[in-house]
């Protein structure tokens, strides 16, 4: 089981993603729903599933979004919370 970004979470197995011009679209065919992620949330998702270590992810996101690292931390936390609640991410083993 692969976790993402050292956050103990993983992309739910049923989820597909499409990289589009203006972000990423997550598709959940089982529940017949989709979620469009614009930037900077799209970057959060991609860095998460690419399993960058949490500290590196924070600094990368800060540069990508042009924000401070504290704000990047908050953005990551908000995204993780939402995606976990909505079932796009699910708990996984810690790396």
């Amino acid at each position: 089981m692969k976790t993402v970004g050292g956050h103990g979470l993983q992309c739910a197995a049923r989820i597909f993603q499409l990289v589009e011009r203006q972000g990423i679209v997550l598709l959940d065919p089982q529940r017949n729903r989709q979620l469009h992620l614009a930037y900077p949330e799209a970057a959060v998702w991609d860095l998460l599933i690419r399993r960058w270590p949490a500290t590196t992810m924070r600094s990368m996101l800060a540069v990508i979004a042009g924000i401070g690292e504290d704000e990047a931390d908050r953005l990551i936390a908000v995204c993780l919370d939402r995606w976990r609640t909505e079932g796009w991410l699910e708990p996984g083993a810690a790396p």
Partner: protein
């Protein structure tokens, strides 16, 4: 000054337009910027020559038949100069050199892999360059944001590449720009990574030097093994993604005989958008590895076969020096305002290592980006580089000056380079003539030319293609 405060005005210098070349037992007369070319026999050329005179500018030529008269008028056109050599800064692209470091050891590498500049670029520096570029494009009214990644091997420095990819996407969205991301890679990375590359880059130029034996001689991995298996696997994986895959094959004496076979294999296995065949550039490393550039006549002949094979499969064949429409700049980024940012913040128009062009007495830097993210463009340098192709003594009488413009400023036509044609010129002259013939529907004439070494030499070695340098009687009237 334009909106971004960068204004580069260069004067325009006239270039000759009318050329004539021997092709088998006939003559190819052409005016490349006017898009006019014709194959005429000796007597017709003789009559053209007599009617048109030294400077073909007369509005009518009563001594000529209708067909020749029409041709003379077309040839004598004074076309408008191709655009883009003057005016405000208009970068061809923004280039990023995430690192000069590389995970393989190509025998012919002249990109400074693992040299003193092997440090990785900081993501913040890449972001600062991208931020400036996006703002510049919006203010200048340009709609396309084109970012190219070079190396070393860019994917050795993934943190900066991925940061730059996402930063580019965010900025393009914010500034309303159409984004084009392109990367040149050796394809030596784990299979899972190919999905990221294929999803996020609009174009990938992947080096694959044909079949395994030669590829591995050309491009050995660090542990002494070859890099073929991984590069081939990556090409196959990328072929299944949305990216435009361009396969770049370096040609040496080892694989020049098999270009047609290689083209066929590439087309069938990878369905690429383009296949680029480029002859090896010899240097001390290639000599040490026993690799030699191909004979230019043989390269031209073999490339032409590969070209035909590639076209049959709906794939674009590329030999860079003969591509594109007539222009005043070479096919390389230099002179086209390209801004290529190195890890140390230097901005150049050339992706070769600085020491390579300094050795040739060239300064290809055009600006600097400092640690605080302040970017400075040297407009004098931009203008100077735009004018670089104007000062190519070897090219002054060559009909290829309208497309290749002297080729690489560092390797081919550097200041003080010999006036005699070099192998690059020979293959470029032959393939440019073939391109003109094919465009006229005379592919069979091109094939005949490439089958006859003497005819090829007569064309390729001709010291002047200028119409005005034609002897008074190039062929006997009765020929």
């Amino acid at each position: 000054m334009n909106a971004a405060g960068v204004d580069c005005i260069a004067t325009d210098k006239a270039r000759p337009c009318l050329f004539v070349l021997p092709v088998n037992d006939a003559f190819l007369v052409c005016n490349p910027p006017a898009g006019v070319a014709s194959l005429v026999n000796g007597p017709a050329l003789h009559r053209l020559r007599r009617a048109v005179g030294q400077v073909p500018s007369a509005p009518s030529y009563p001594s000529l038949s209708d067909d020749l008269h029409q041709l003379a008028v077309l040839l004598a056109q004074k076309p408008e100069a191709p655009p883009a050599a003057t005016g405000p800064l208009h970068p061809l692209f923004l280039g990023l050199l995430p690192t000069r470091s590389c995970n393989i050891r190509c025998a012919y590498c002249d990109f400074g892999a693992d040299g003193p500049q092997a440090a990785a670029m900081s993501p913040a520096l890449a972001s600062a360059a991208l931020t400036w570029y996006a703002r510049f494009l919006e203010e200048a009214g340009h709609g396309r944001m084109e970012v190219h990644f070079f190396g070393g091997e860019p994917f050795v420095a993934r943190e900066v590449v991925e940061t730059a990819v996402h930063r580019s996407r965010l900025l393009a969205d914010r500034h309303g720009l159409a984004l084009h991301l392109e990367v040149s890679t050796n394809g030596v990375f784990e299979p899972e990574y190919a999905q990221f590359v294929g999803d996020y880059f609009q174009a990938v130029v992947l080096s694959l030097d044909g079949f395994q034996e030669v590829h591995d001689r050309h491009r050995p991995a660090r542990a002494g093994r070859g890099s073929f298996a991984q590069a081939r696997q990556t090409a196959a994986l990328l072929a299944r993604t949305p990216t435009e895959l361009c396969l770049r094959c370096c040609v040496s004496t080892l694989n020049v005989h098999r270009l047609e076979e290689i083209a066929l294999w590439f087309c069938k296995e990878f369905q690429p958008s383009a296949i680029n065949f480029e002859p090896l550039t010899g240097n001390s490393s290639t000599l040490a590895a026993g690799l030699l550039p191909p004979d230019p006549y043989l390269f031209a002949r073999q490339y032409a076969k590969a070209h035909a094979q590639t076209l049959r499969h709906g794939v674009k064949p590329v030999y860079a020096a003969t591509e594109g429409e007539p222009s005043r700049t070479s096919f390389c980024p230099v002179g086209k305002d390209a801004l290529i940012v190195s890890a140390d913040g230097r901005i150049s128009s050339c992706y070769l290592p600085q020491e390579a062009w300094l050795e040739r007495g060239l300064d290809l830097d055009v600006g600097r980006l400092d640690a605080q993210g302040h970017l400075r463009i040297d407009t004098d340098a931009i203008v100077r580089l735009r004018r670089l192709p104007e000062d190519k003594p070897r090219c002054a009488r060559c009909f290829c000056q309208w497309v290749c413009s002297g080729g690489c400023h560092v390797h081919h036509t550097y200041p003080g380079s010999p006036l005699a044609y070099e192998p690059f010129c020979i293959q470029t002259r032959l393939l440019s003539a073939c391109r003109l013939l094919e465009e006229m529907g005379l592919g069979s004439v091109a094939e005949t030319l490439l089958d006859d070494r003497q005819a090829m030499e007569a064309l390729a070695q001709r010291p002047s293609d200028l119409f005005e340098d034609l002897p008074e009687n190039p062929m006997p009237e009765a020929a």
